[in-house]
């Protein structure tokens, strides 16, 4: 792998390659260490951190679906204090970009997490979770209307000098307008998509398969939706885009890059193939060699489209 050809500096951060592990699928960066050195990744996004500890939703929380899965974890996390005092010191030395996913019930919750993390150098950026479909307050409640996105992102912007990445929900009428609002309010990047709200019913019992009734769909099943949204948002904003949704191969990741994403996140595909991020990095490199490309930026947004 030719290292230089993958390196990008985006919103003030150097990424050694364009592959990041997605929030909620990578714990706090320690769960996959038996499989490989985390420093090989472009970065990873932690599980959502809220001001207070959260126990999450009742079980069952997951169910497999065709080429994917539904989850309704409900932002279980040990809270800001435990993250800063116990977890961060353990992961601070990882030679990769640590991005913290920030969530809460109120705007003040988001502000509190952002302000506290602003003082911690190992945290390189904050991903603002306005798209979790599995909690009653916060999450998607902030992410589905331009006014609420604007309200929250302006507050968060004032609370931190670290780069903020706004994680967008696909469960909206027009994701492009929300991405534009995020950009206008000072977001340094947008990441998309979070999961698509779904439901599975146990026919024999005539009951929902998940205790939360509904859950978020992820996996290869959502990938075409995600690629379409990245393509549309890329045409509307000038900040970097992080593409997420059902990546299980380098080819999948390349779709996002070609559509206009500067970086990608691998998610539940890592549950099946823990080494997936490394496979993707290697596959992108091989693609670049095969297409005689000198740098990964030559792929980004390179889609050729003849609009009707």
């Amino acid at each position: 792998m030719t290292k230089a050809s993958m390196t990008q500096t985006l919103f003030g951060i150097e990424f050694k390659n364009p592959v990041i592990a997605a929030s909620g699928t990578f714990g706090f960066g320690e769960e996959y260490r038996d499989f490989y050195d985390v420093s090989l990744l472009g970065g990873f996004v932690t599980k959502a951190v809220t001001p207070e500890p959260r126990e999450g939703n009742p079980a069952p929380r997951i169910i497999e679906t065709p080429s994917g899965m539904l989850n309704a974890i409900g932002l279980q996390n040990p809270g800001l204090k435990a993250f800063v005092n116990q977890i961060l010191p353990r992961i601070a030395n990882f030679d990769t970009n640590i991005i913290v996913n920030v969530a809460g019930s109120t705007a003040d919750d988001y502000v509190a997490v952002c302000m506290e993390l602003n003082g911690h150098d190992p945290v390189k950026a904050l991903e603002i979770n306005i798209s979790c479909p599995n909690v009653k307050e916060g999450g998607i409640a902030f992410g589905n209307k331009p006014e609420s996105v604007s309200f929250l992102i302006k507050k968060v912007r004032e609370a931190t000098t670290k780069p903020i990445i706004v994680k967008l929900s696909p469960n909206v009428t027009d994701i492009v307008s929300l991405a534009t609002v995020a950009e206008d309010c000072g977001a340094d990047a947008v990441s998309l998509i979070n999961t698509i709200t779904g439901m599975v019913i146990n026919v024999e019992a005539r009951k929902p398969m998940l205790a939360n009734i509904t859950g978020g769909l992820s996996g290869p099943a959502v990938r075409p939706v995600a690629v379409r949204m990245v393509y549309q948002v890329a045409k509307a904003v000038s900040i970097p885009i992080i593409g997420i949704g059902g990546i299980v191969s380098a080819c999948d990741a390349l779709e996002f890059l070609i559509a206009g994403a500067s970086l990608v996140q691998t998610g539940c595909g890592m549950f099946v193939d823990p080494k997936l991020p490394l496979t993707v990095i290697g596959g992108i490199d091989a693609y670049m060699v095969r297409h005689h490309l000198g740098h990964v930026t030559e792929i980004i947004g390179s889609i050729g489209v003849t609009e009707a």
């Binding site: 997951i62 497999e64 065709p66 080429s67 989850n71 279980q76 299980v248 890592m270």
Partner: protein, 259 residues
């Protein structure tokens, strides 16, 4: 724990959709303890998507073999059991925390299995017998006679087994937990190990509590990653905490679990 390409040495059919797969994986055979599990990849397609979770049924450390019992209940298990001898299964393991084998070792041990929950308990039985335990009492509950017949293939020769069946065709007619309760006074065990359907384990936990006997259960929660990363397999404990069955379990003390 690591990811391995494990060659299939042999697959046996026991009847009633129950299979035993013998895999070559010297690393897991060397490291694994009873109660631990593996995550098995299903083919190369994305549908079915997730790995399938199986408790270890046994290992042969000298020969580097790992045994799994698989109940074919859907497309995933169907595909896994269809893989031919000489081909490989991609497996991750050993995962999770196993049984504590050092509880009241001077007293008799009771093991209570419901259906496919028999697998980790037979691995535990073998391990206890190897370390010199002689007073093992095994309670095996299954729905029907033919189910019992298929599980019978899995048992070692020298083991005292009490049976129950839902229809009374084999052994005690009714729940295995009821039979257990009848026999406990005479066995006076130092520990009870259980694995099976949730309601069975709940019943065993209640009985163990009533008799003041330590009890460990292996929970069979639905898992996605099996590595502690997704928080999908959460179990509520009596102290209110939600813990991950895959890394904090799957074996728990019954009195810890909020049933």
């Amino acid at each position: 724990m690591q990811e391995y390409e494990a060659g299939i040495i042999r697959t046996e059919y026991c009847g009633e959709n129950i299979y035993v797969i013998h895999l070559a994986c010297k690393e897991i055979a060397r490291e694994a303890v009873p109660g631990q599990f593996v995550q098995v990849k299903v083919g190369n397609s994305t549908d079915p998507f997730l790995r399938r979770t199986f408790s270890l049924y046994g290992v042969n450390r000298e020969r580097g073999l790992v045994k799994l019992v698989i109940d074919v209940i859907g497309r995933g298990t169907e595909q896994i059991t269809a893989v031919k001898r000489g081909q490989c299964l991609n497996i991750i393991g050993p995962l999770g925390k196993g049984f504590d084998r050092n509880i009241n070792t001077s007293k008799p041990v009771v093991l209570v299995a419901g259906g496919i929950g028999v697998a980790p308990l037979l691995f535990l039985t073998e391990s206890l017998q190897t370390s010199g335990h002689r007073q093992l009492f095994f309670f095996m509950g299954a729905r029907t006679e033919s189910a019992h017949n298929s599980f019978k293939e899995l048992f070692p020769l020298k083991l005292e087994v009490y049976h129950s069946s839902d229809d009374g065709s084999v052994g005690y007619s009714g729940y295995i937990s009821d039979l257990l309760e009848e026999k406990l006074d005479s066995i006076k065990p130092g520990v009870i190990y259980a694995c099976g359907p949730h309601l069975m384990m709940k019943a065993v936990a209640t009985i163990a509590d009533k008799f003041g006997i330590l009890c460990q259960v292996s929970l069979e929660e639905r898992m996605a990653c099996g590595l502690g990363a997704c928080y999908g397999c959460a179990v509520r404990l009596r102290d209110g905490r939600m813990v991950r069955s895959c890394v904090d379990g799957p074996v728990f003390y019954a009195k810890e679990v909020k049933w």
